[in-house]
Amino acid sequence: MHDKNFMRETLLQGAQAFQAGKMERRSFLALCGIAGFASASVLAGKAEAAASEIVMWNWGGQSEECHQSAIGVAFTKDTGIPLKFDTSGPLQGKIKEMVDSGHVTADVCDADLFDAVALGKTGHLEALDYSVIDKTKTVDGYALEFGISIILYGYAFMYDTQAYPDGAPASWADFFDTAKFPGQRSLYKWANGSLEAALMADGVEKDKLYPLDIDRAIKKITAIKADTIYWGSGSEAHDMIVNGEVSMGMVWQNRGRSIETETNGRYKLVMNQALAMPGAYIVPKGNPGGADVMKFIATAQSVPAQLDLFACLGMTPTNPEAIAQMAEVDQPYSITSAANMPMIALNDPTWWGENTDAAVNAFLAAIS
């Protein structure tokens, strides 16, 4: 990301210098050549013309092409504004650092709703414009002042059907029961989802999880520590299961279907007691694209965009109309389908927004 950014700025400053007569034409062309850029496209209009685009900050992998095909194409057709990507992953610290430095390069971040709570409080985000974005096109309670949930992802677990031929594990209580279901397990190493799973395994009702009793969850997690390994990224979780390192693995639920196909059905996804996480679009304060980003978010809420994101990335839609239109065969893998909704627990972004540091540090202290 930094390389592209640096080159873009170098070119913009070169263009300004050239127009002001401070740089020779040959030097400017050489600069454009080095940056691999056609000089015409840099000079077109004013040097500031590059600001009329929307930059989405997401997580790389397939998300770039999926967001482009699901939202970008329709958005560009409607408004004429192109969609660009920064795939370095918008973690809270990076967003805070970017806004603090005063040099904001992203318009919308594909982050979590608890980021909206935490960063909104400290003034690092723009408030969303709900005259453009529709509050009703998402799950109840997931349209907040500084962020709105566009998709849901979730934590669920997969188990090895060959390891447990008679009696498959069906809930987090089974996941945390090493006596009845021996074998290695994997959990998410940054507390999110793992704490809720431990509490549900300890008998807490899925609707009464929040505020989380961190100590109780930590006790449960420490109990199976000897049999657990921890992952930090989706691909690590994927590898641990596909390479047979664990008999039961917590995963991000949207990867469930691909793992099932890759292992020829040997590993099955359990959606019971899955924890639904609201993925949210948030806007860093002082974003370069201005108010156009609100139209982008509104486009992301449309039914075709929602269904496309599900087909491409496996991320569950939040728009009730899109949920209603989902195909039969996809429903088991969608958190918000009629069959799954009664079984899942919904994450509380406000609690996480306020307590991330305590929860994550307590978890790390317990597992290390």
Partner: protein
């Protein structure tokens, strides 16, 4: 006009100031954050006394780094010894192989180790097929895996300073020792090894300092259970936004390394480590 300093320094001074400023600026910024975030004072440093977690993480880091340095230097010494005593094309081949290993990315190495020594990896499957073991040996996703991965990564860094030191030893010194009646073992322990001391010290310093900052290998090969300082700092900066704690830990690492070099300078002339003369 006689200047109090050599005129050469005046030419270099602007550049020196620029580099010094750009280098020291961010370091001073981090030190500043460590005493001002979230509240001014030494509260972050006081956490070292009160927080069990921080002490444990620092201890884990120290322990893993010391063990890794020891094994890397020992293995590096053997490899350098073999390289010095090889001749011509054989030596060039060895140097070539060593350099190629530098160019392998850390992620490729990490996943290769997982594939070799993982639960269903080549080694475990082979041993199980031969009937030698019934359950897979846990090489990976624990501290052993981290040590294997780190030593593998650091051995080339250890070889080079030791190789350079060994090359400067006159072969006739060894012959003189033998001709005066010293056995092979005596010659090695009393003559050869002390002569290579600057190289060994340089290698240990380099390997230890690089080890302190290791992130990827412990994160992946440790299965999340071997939490080292670098990863913890990263989590505090990116996820929990406790920048004061992160800056404090980074400062501790910096002071630790400086203290280490100070202690070593008490025992030997440190400039020999960086290529200076022995006397």
């Amino acid at each position: 006009m006689r200047l109090p300093i050599k005129s050469g320094w005046l030419l270099v001074l602007p550049f020196l100031l620029l580099v010094g400023g750009l280098f020291l600026g961010p370091i001073l910024n981090v030190l500043w954050i460590s005493v001002t975030d979230p509240a001014p004072g030494f509260g972050n440093y006081a956490q070292l006394g009160s927080s069990d977690t921080l002490r444990r993480i620092l201890w884990t880091t120290l322990r893993v780094c010391v063990i890794c340095t020891a094994f890397s230097v020992i293995l590096g010494y053997s490899i350098a010894y073999a390289m010095v005593h090889a001749t011509g094309p054989a030596q060039s081949r060895m140097v070539g192989l060593l350099l190629i290993s530098f160019w392998i990315s850390v992620l490729v190495r990490t996943f290769s180790w997982l594939m070799l020594l993982g639960r269903n990896g080549v080694v475990n499957s082979g041993l199980e097929a031969l009937g030698i073991i019934t359950a897979p040996i846990a090489f990976m996703r624990n501290e052993l895996g981290v040590l294997i991965g780190m030593v593998h990564y650091m051995v080339p860094y250890a070889v080079l300073p030791i190789f350079a030191a060994m090359q400067s030893i006159d072969a006739r010194v060894v012959q003189a020792s033998r001709s005066l009646g010293g056995s092979g073992a005596q010659t090695f322990w009393r003559i050869y090894l002390p002569l290579t001391k600057p190289g060994v010290v340089a290698a240990s310093l380099v390997v230890f300092i690089i080890n302190l900052g290791f992130y990827v290998i412990p994160a992946v090969l440790g299965g999340g259970k071997v939490l080292m300082v670098a990863e913890y700092i990263s989590v505090q900066v990116l996820i929990t936004l406790q920048w004061g704690t992160a800056a404090m830990l980074a400062a501790i690492l910096l002071f630790g390394v400086l203290a280490l070099m100070f202690i070593m300078s008490r025992f030997m002339k440190l400039s020999t480590v960086f290529g200076g003369a022995r006397t």
